[in-house]
């Protein structure tokens, strides 16, 4: 008999006014008892809607049933069979619009806390130090496949290819593997030891990772084929920051969210022993309404800002960020200015940002995307005194590989053109994740990496 408790078993969190002064993880995770109790809320549907909501089709009722019985290791193996990075997806997936959004328990009450339980299983295994990974495989004599980019798409593709028996080399442009998981998502939401652990698991399975390898510059895609790689997967993400094109945007103190978060997460600017400088603003404006904007705002608060404003041109209901991130940000004292759009950044005589001019917006008719498009309210301009501005209005794919690979077509947004989501216009070259779709989520990129691995396998076998 299922546990018919209506609400999710609560998960311990650091108190808002304590956590907004430190970088430790906000959510503390379930205990074994809490996990078993929560997992027993699953009804074990014969035709589980939750699995259809999952981009990597995690066998959710199966793993939950093992958790409920206390067989955490079995549960982990079930998750791991379709998901290369469970400790990460359990933390950063937008479960409310995927698995949990489809859970029947959510019709009357709250859905089963699938994300928290996925995280629990991964953390449990990590603590046991018994990774449920296959033993390291000798790469000799195997068919070689190159993976460009070590973010969620690349890592998930590499994990699947190694399992399928290929020799996989991942080429990463930065000095550390993980892509957006290490340069973008902050420590308090995704501890870097978790990412390192997941990557070590892949390395133990035989994935080879090379850092400082900017494909398109150090080596071209054509050279990878010359080196004996029979297929190339491009998971180079969407790392090129967009700016708004407003006056004052190049003033000192105006960051792209990418730069601000990279200085903090990859370059550890918040830690004394690291050299990286960062502006510790007293009054910070973050422009945008996605997860990246939430990450930037909460990081600015942790650097000691008195006021952090999130400026978003639509309303709260339209915000693309995960609900939990908005909720956490509010608890931590982030101030939201909805239906507000910046028009100009005021600059002092030394070139520093000192104010941001905004205009109030109202929502008009739905546009092509189905979202109601914001319209400026005339005469509603106002100035906000700030010393730092962080622009988080989206990113586009990096053009480096497109520019240096003949025959590889992209659309007008710079995304790779594919026939089936993965197969590009160059034979043997596959792509997936944000490089194909434009900026999206970690789990969609992981799903795309898996799909691509399957197609690469088919391509090589058909040769």
């Amino acid at each position: 008999m299922a546990n018919m408790q209506q609400n999710k078993t609560p998960m311990k969190e650091q108190l808002p006014n304590i956590r907004n002064t430190n970088w430790d993880e906000v959510a503390c995770g379930y205990t074994a008892e809490e996990a078993m109790h929560e997992a027993s809320r699953c009804l074990g549907c014969k035709n589980p809607a939750c699995v259809k909501g999952c981009p990597v089709s995690v066998k959710i009722p199966e793993f939950l049933s093992e958790v409920a019985k206390g067989n955490f290791e079995n549960a982990y193996r079930i998750i791991r069979s379709t998901n290369a990075l469970p400790a990460i997806s359990g933390r950063v997936c937008p479960q409310e619009s995927q698995c949990e959004g489809k859970c029947v328990r959510g019709i009357k009450g709250e859905p089963v806390a699938i994300g928290r339980l996925e995280r629990f299983c991964a953390d449990y295994m990590m603590q046991k130090q018994q990774k449920a990974s296959e033993p390291a495989q000798n790469g000799e004599g195997k068919i070689k496949v190159a993976v460009v980019g070590s973010g969620p798409a690349g890592l998930s593709c590499a994990g699947d290819l190694v399992t399928r028996g290929y020799h996989v080399t991942v080429f990463e442009a930065l000095h550390k593997a993980g892509g957006v998981l290490v340069y973008g998502i902050p420590e308090f939401r995704l501890p870097k030891t978790i990412v390192e652990n997941e990557i070590r698991t892949l390395e133990a399975m035989g994935v080879e990772i090379m850092t400082d390898m900017v494909i398109g510059r150090v080596l071209s895609v054509d050279e990878l084929f010359d080196m004996g790689y029979e297929a190339v997967f491009i998971g180079s993400g969407a790392g090129l920051p967009r700016f708004m094109g407003i006056e004052g945007e190049n003033a000192n103190g105006v960051y792209s969210a990418n730069e601000f978060l990279t200085r903090i997460n990859l370059m550890k600017a918040y830690r004394e022993e690291y050299v990286t400088p960062i502006r510790k603003g007293r009054s910070v404006a973050v422009v945008g309404g996605g997860n990246v904007a939430m990450d930037a705002a909460r990081s600015a608060k942790r650097l000691g800002a008195e006021h952090v404003y999130v400026i978003y041109r639509r309303g709260e209901a339209e915000m693309p960020a995960r609900r939990e991130e908005i909720h956490h940000a509010k608890e931590e004292g982030i101030e939201f200015l909805f239906l507000t759009n910046p028009t100009k950044i005021g600059v002092d005589e030394k070139g520093n940002a000192e104010s941001i001019r905004c205009v109030k917006m109202s929502l008009g008719e739905p546009d092509a995307s189905g979202r109601r498009s914001p319209v400026a309210v005339e005469g509603s301009d106002f100035d906000l005194a700030i010393d730092t501005v962080i622009i988080a209005v989206g990113t586009a794919p990096n053009p480096l590989i497109r520019m240096t690979t003949p025959g590889l077509e992209t659309d007008r947004r710079g995304c790779f053109v594919t026939s089936d989501g993965n197969t590009t216009t160059r034979e043997g070259v596959f792509a997936g994740g944000d490089a194909v779709t434009g900026a999206a989520t970690v789990i969609l990129a992981m799903g795309a990496g898996r799909d691509a691995a399957k197609k690469i396998d088919e391509f090589i076998k058909s040769k």
């Binding site: 400082d212 103190g253 050299v275 990286t276 400088p277 070139g351 990096n398």
Partner: protein, 280 residues
């Protein structure tokens, strides 16, 4: 990890490192740069490729010890490893079709100007180099520059070469009838600004090389952005070379000063730490 195979002091605080970096040396072209991180806690800093040898795999970079990361780099010697070196990055200089050029270098900028002059010389162009330094002790690469160009050396205080600024020397040459089709100017932003203003008067195409604050060098952070012809460009992927007549130098100079106080603070820490080590 990349090994240092040669280290040579060129002037006070100015050093040339030769690195064993075959993958980079194979690809590098004049105008490109590498991003280098000496150790785990250091910053990623861009350094222009000063020279390369495709056969031996040697790659030279020249740095000036100005901030904490270059100071830490300077602690390394022959046989030591640099934790990360990525490159070559940026677009190579477009030197195609240049027949008669003036290459103007200011201070450490000569380390970047010299490979350009050398590349032009090898392409068969006639090259005048104008190299400016504050004072005699800071002069670098004199023999190298002489070998590939007709060199005019100027110093601010007249302690070596001719007393004056590079703009004076350039103007003199133009007025004396040197028919340059291109001027390449590399040095402090203020120097590039005045060279560009001068050549604009004479209608001579001018290329400048940017060296702004940067993190990744691949187009990811936008920290190196500058305004060129009213549009925002990224020095790391759109440059580092730009049309000197279109660059907003004043904005560039403001942006380069963004972390000056933090840098001074880090240097103070660095010196204190080393003093403590010395006494301990």
């Amino acid at each position: 990890m990349i090994t240092i195979i040669k280290k040579e002091r060129l002037a006070d605080k100015v050093t040339r490192l030769v690195l064993d970096a075959p993958l980079i040396a194979k690809k590098a072209k004049a105008g490109q740069f590498v991003i280098l991180r000496p150790n785990e806690r250091a910053e990623r800093i861009p350094l222009t490729v000063a020279d390369y040898n495709r056969e031996t795999g040697d790659l030279s970079v020249i740095y000036q010890t100005v901030g904490r990361t270059t100071a830490e780099l300077d602690l390394l010697g022959v046989g030591d490893m640099i934790l990360n070196v990525a490159g070559p990055l940026g677009k190579a200089s477009d030197l195609e079709g240049i027949k008669r050029a003036a290459v103007v270098g200011g201070g450490l900028g000569c380390a970047i100007a010299y490979p350009q002059a050398k590349a032009l010389f090898e392409l068969g162009a006639k090259v005048d180099m104008i190299a400016g330094f504050r004072t005699k002790e800071l002069v670098i690469l004199e023999d190298e520059m002489k070998a590939c160009s007709n060199l005019t050396l100027v110093t601010d205080d007249g302690s070596y070469g001719t007393k004056g600024l590079v703009t004076d020397a350039l103007k003199e040459k133009i007025l004396a009838g040197a028919a340059y089709d291109t001027v390449i100017a590399i040095g402090p932003p203020v120097m590039m600004k005045y060279v560009s203003l001068l050549t604009k008067e004479f209608g001579i195409r001018t290329i400048v090389s940017m060296n702004p604050i940067m993190i990744d060098g691949t187009g990811m952070c936008g920290g190196c952005r500058l305004t060129v012809d009213g549009k925002t460009k990224f020095a790391c992927v759109d440059g580092p070379d730009f049309d000197g007549h279109l660059v907003d130098f004043d904005e560039l100079m403001r942006r380069n000063a963004a972390y000056r106080s933090e840098e001074q603070e880090e240097m103070r820490h660095f010196h204190e730490c080393n003093l403590l080590k010395g006494n301990g």
